[in-house]
Amino acid sequence: MTVYEIQHWLLTTLGSVEIVKPIMTSKWGWPICESLHFIGLSLLIGTIGMFDMRLLGIAKRIPISALHRLIPWGIGGYILNIITGSMFLVTAPDQYLYNSAFHLKMLFMAVAGLNVLTFYSAVFRKVNVLGAGADAPLAAKWIGGASLFLWTGVIIFGRLLTFYRPFACGKGGATGFLATCL
């Protein structure tokens, strides 16, 4: 299969999901899902970003295992965003599948996922036993730094989606290439 065929298959498959369309095409369905998507983003970057900063050496008197108790809230934000993100995707698959900002966002999400797997398989057991005041090992610092970089990248490319839409959107007619896509 060529990339074009894969994209076309995804377009028809995702586009055939009908259950969320009545919600998403209602007056406030899409805007409310966007708001929830941004709340999920803040929850993820706030808790997981705080944990990453601890790995990097900020607030060393907090035991890493104690701060790890905040991670389920970050995972909650992630799940909220997978749900709302999927709702956008199946409602307007053409706006995403042919959008280079979306491709980069998915790439950054995939690498961020691999980074999480690396953290739990390679360093979690070592850092979880560290007490108050202990410095995280260098490998954990790299993973924490990579996490901050990758999630920030996900936010940037997510926000740029609007400006790389392959088709017109929203209220048209105003001047400037941005005006119709705010």
Binding site: S42, L44, G46, T47, T152, F163, L182
Partner: protein, 164 residues
Amino acid sequence: MDHFLLWLESTALSIWMRESINVFAFPMILAYHTIGMGFVAGLSSAVDLRILGVARRVPLLELKRFLPATWAAFWLNAASGVLLLIAYPTKALTNPVFYLKLTCIGFAVAILRSIAKSIFQNPNLDLGEIPARGKWLAGASLFCWAGAIFAGRLLAYTYTRLTQ
């Protein structure tokens, strides 16, 4: 008001923000605004969760080490927010939802300052139960940040005039 908005929209900076096809004009400034939102609302909410009883073994006093990053994110958003406002002043200033957003942020920031002054300065707090006032502040903070994000996101859907 209309004269002021018309003047602001005719400034070089406003026109550049609106019409430049440079990705570092409007699009990236909006992206910075979203990054700042994630860190200021997110880090502040993480502190609120701790006050409300999540991750009890985290020493409250030490959470103040995250305040500089939280304030840096706040000032990033104040700066990027002003630029976004200069780009489309009529769009924001003629929309009541924009003032609701500013009110939510005002309360959230006041609460953050209050938490920084009271909770982070009290070495006895880690030994006992957090006073009810602290829990109320933390709950109100979560509510205000969620409100600010909701109102901010809805600005794209509730404006009546884009430009003069």
